[in-house]
Amino acid sequence: MSMMMSTFSATAPVLQHLFPDIEDWSELAQACLDTLLMLGGSLTLTVLFGLPLGVLLYLTGKGQLRAMPKLYGALSLTVNILRSPPFIILMIVLLPLTSLLVGTKLGIRGAIPPLVIGAVPFFARLVETAFREVEHGVIEASQAMGATTWQIVRHVLLPEARVGIWASVTVTAIALVGYTAMGGAIGAGGLGDLAYRYGYLSNKPDYMIVTVLLLIVLVQILQVIGDRIVGYYGRR
């Protein structure tokens, strides 16, 4: 963080000149950090919950290893319901649950539950699709070798689908950047909060411009990292 700050102070005169509306750059830096923390925290939890849910969706699906039409139907419906409302509405609906879970509706802590609940169904669907891309023959070969379902998940599906899974993580991370910015509007903090409060409510367009630029850079970085990882595994 200190390096980031010193970079800010070195370039401060130029930035001050370009964006005169912005009085406090450290506030912007803090907002940046908040956004990254929200993103990091929610992405980690999303993968943690979404991956098993994706596995479950895949396994219980029609014609799959553990086909369970009723369970699949219930999971699928839940996932669809959670994916239906726009994120900002979902966030408001979830406010009581959020304060129950983390004791506050505000700040980074208050933002994490709705972000995760919003992103898990999305990520789980992507994971399910990635698993379906794995050739059925490879799974059949593993069954013929006497593999258990768990062994197939652990040693066949996850490694064989890793390109698709990393691509899903990338897409989800970028979606989460958008969600965190929306969350800013209802008290989550971060870049979205600045853009909304200063840029929109206080009519200081410079905030809007800088925030949007920072978000573009963030999304670019995420996409490049994601593409690198996918490219590394995709060569095989």
């Binding site: 050739e135 023959g137 490879v138 059949e140 069954q143 070798m145 593999a147 595994y233 095989r236």
Partner: protein
């Protein structure tokens, strides 16, 4: 011994039972190479998958030695499956793993943990299939024939007593097919492994199989020793398969020879008879004349055989036929 007792299989499609295999019983002996030939949709992939219960029969019993597979629990079935290797038309290797890891996979599934033990077994298997230098490559860097060799090494990892081959050479070119079949024959000889293979090519059956069953629309229409089925096909489907493997003339299309004078005969030689000058001796002794219309001398697995279509002239033809039959040559009269 693999034993099917009154086994049948049907699939439920839109509330209706569509039969894939009509009731049948079949024994496959230990150490033999058993071929199942049929067109696509005849039920052969279902049949081979019944042996490791990747497909469950709708009725009947399947036994492996004294073990009734159809009565096993999930866990014991998984244990049994480790003793049944299987290779596939499209190889079905793990694309994310190296050749060595693919071969080690069944060992790890069976609980092998010691890296040195795994490595030693993998090296041994790769040496057997001739891929020692390719251990650290990924499947995508290999040719089709090499991929199938990895499949074979993987299938042999847990020292199975049975190897199932699901159209194992159908995706390979003729030369690669020949080398993979040779490897299978070698494995059968040296490891005394029972091999069950399904194919739609009679040539594959002729090269490696001891016995064959012909499958047509879910029924076994003919089965027996390859030489018998190959030289004397009974069922129309079998004849079509045999004819694909033979030039048209050898197949004995009677209409082809209607305008040829003399009696049209087909002689089949098997084993040592193929190498002895019986035909020359008999024609000299009986004073008949003949001309060859078509012929072929080849091998059915290790058994040399010959098949000649002749037109025979002269008063001694009947005596000649008798003499030929006495010398162990099978004679069929196609037209007179």
């Amino acid at each position: 011994m693999i034993r099917f007792v009154d086994v049948h299989k049907s699939y439920r499609v839109d509330g209706k039972d569509i039969p894939a295999l009509h009731p049948f019983s079949l024994d496959i002996s230990d150490g033999e190479v058993f071929g199942i030939i049929g067109h696509s949709g005849a039920g052969k992939s279902t049949l081979i998958r019944l042996i490791n219960l990747l497909e469950r029969p709708s009725g009947g019993r399947i036994l492996l030695g004294d073990t009734e597979l159809t009565a096993l629990s999930e866990a014991s079935l998984r244990e049994q499956r480790r003793h049944i290797g299987m290779i596939f038309q499209h190889f079905n290797l793990l694309a994310s793993q190296t050749v060595a890891d693919n071969v080690a996979f069944p060992l790890r599934l069976a609980g092998a943990r010691e890296p040195a033990t795994i490595r030693a077994r993998v090296d041994e298997l790769l040496a057997r299939v001739g891929l020692t230098e390719h251990a650290d490559k990924y499947p995508s860097q290999l040719s089709g024939g090499q991929k199938q060799r990895v499949g074979i090494a993987r299938a042999l990892a847990n020292r199975p007593s049975i190897l199932l081959c699901d159209e194992a050479t159908s995706a390979l070119d003729p030369q690669t097919t020949a080398s993979v079949l040779e490897l299978l024959a070698e494995i059968n000889r040296e490891l005394k492994l029972t091999i069950v293979l399904i194919t739609h090519e009679m040539d594959v059956v002729r090269r490696v199989c001891d016995r064959v069953a012909v499958l047509d629309a879910g029924r076994i229409v003919e089965h027996g020793a390859v030489a018998d089925v190959f030289l004397h096909p009974q069922h129309a489907t079998t004849r079509r398969f045999v004819n694909e493997a033979l030039p048209e003339e050898v197949a004995g299309e009677q209409s082809l020879y209607q305008h040829v004078p003399g009696r049209i005969l087909r002689l089949s030689f098997r084993g040592e008879a193929t190498w002895s000058p019986t035909l020359g001796r008999v024609t000299r002794e009986t004073g008949v004349d003949f001309n060859i219309l078509a012929g072929r001398v080849d091998r059915i697995k290790d058994l040399p055989y010959g098949q000649l279509t002749l037109a025979m002239h002269g008063s001694g033809v009947d005596a000649a036929l008798q003499a030929l039959r006495q010398a162990g040559i099978e004679v069929e009269e196609l037209a007179r």
